[in-house]
């Protein structure tokens, strides 16, 4: 939250500075911000609702079931897949991962889960496609998934 506060403050300072330099340009930039905001708001809301829907089907307790226990290559793969379709805020995901480790889950599985959770996003695909185009979206997500597994295996070896 403190970071959010800092970002808001910096933005405010820059906005005031811009205002002193040119009211015209500042007005224009606010208009751009507003139109962008109205265009993106449905996407943001839609994504959050979609996250909620998916989490109703695959809620954290179910996730715990799959990620805890014995580590097999299947479990690592499953962890990566679950991370792909889920999106959990870091504030929730970290304690969840922490408690899984404490109850015996392997670091490999958790690493796979966390990496795909943040870097690969099925829920966010529509927005990513809209902003980045097909090629980048496909390759970024595909490579992120691949490297998530690589990272997970590496962590398994290192730890």
């Amino acid at each position: 939250m403190t970071v959010a506060l800092i970002i808001n403050t910096i933005t405010l300072v820059l906005l005031i500075y811009s205002f002193t330099k040119s009211t015209g340009r500042t007005g224009k930039s606010l208009k751009i911000a507003l139109t962008k905001g109205l265009n993106l708001a449905p996407w943001m809301i839609g994504i959050i609702v979609l996250i909620g829907v998916i989490l109703s089907f695959v809620p954290p307790p179910v996730i715990e079931q799959y990620l805890g226990g014995e580590m097999t290559i299947y479990q690592v793969g499953a962890a990566a897949l679950i991370g792909t379709i889920s999106m959990i805020p870091n504030l929730v995901a970290m304690p969840l991962a922490g408690s899984l480790i404490e109850s015996g889950a392997s670091f490999t599985t958790i690493a796979a889960f966390l990496t795909t959770l943040t870097m690969v996003g099925v829920v966010t695909l529509p927005l990513e496609l809209k902003e980045m185009g097909k090629k980048i979206t496909f390759w970024r997500n595909f490579l992120a998934f691949f490297f998530a597994v690589v990272i997970a295996l590496a962590i398994g070896i290192l730890m």
Partner: protein, 172 residues
């Protein structure tokens, strides 16, 4: 003309919100137990988004108006080299908030002339190397795990960024 466009946008938004409310209501009816948790998570996300989306929008507006294409091309474009990569990585580690907030920013960067690799580095850093997040990670998963994950992910992001750029250029 402008105000007409604005009222249409607002109307669309309202319709959208109504549909959303209906979906959420149905969710509550069919999954009473699970929906509690998912509502909680949706609430968390909403707070994060509300806290950071507006300033991000304003910053994008300001950047659009004050930063000329040439500057972006110079620091983040094809010729920016190592400095561009480091700059993009740095920018990605600063903010907070979910990754999908970064997509509009990344889209703008591309439009203004940043190179694909830098944009993907930025996204990758925002996704999994945000500094605020790493603090929480160390707290719950330990310093050793966090260091390994951060270093490995850092390397992976670079690979992902440059391979993606290569693939993107294969079109031509």
């Amino acid at each position: 003309m402008k105000t007409q466009k604005l009222s249409i946008s607002i109307k669309k938004l309202v319709v959208f919100l109504v549909i959303t409310a209906i979906i959420l209501y149905l969710l509550r009816i069919f999954f009473p137990a699970r929906s509690d948790m998912s509502f909680e998570i949706m609430r968390e996300y909403s707070i994060e988004v509300i806290a950071i989306f507006p300033p991000v929008l304003v910053l994008m507006g300001l950047a659009d108006v004050w930063i000329p294409r040439e500057k972006i091309k110079k620091y983040l474009g094809q010729e920016s080299g190592l400095k561009g990569v480091l700059l993009s990585m740095f920018m990605g580690t600063l903010p907070t908030g979910p990754m999908f907030i970064a997509f509009p920013i990344a889209g703008e960067m591309l439009k203004k002339g940043a190179r694909v690799a830098n944009v993907v580095v930025f996204l990758g850093a925002w996704a999994s190397l945000k500094m605020p997040q790493i603090g929480v990670e160390i707290q719950f998963l330990g310093l050793q795990f966090s260091i390994y994950r951060v270093v490995l992910t850092f390397i992976a992001v670079l690979f992902i960024a440059f391979i993606t750029e290569k693939m993107h250029q294969e079109v031509k």
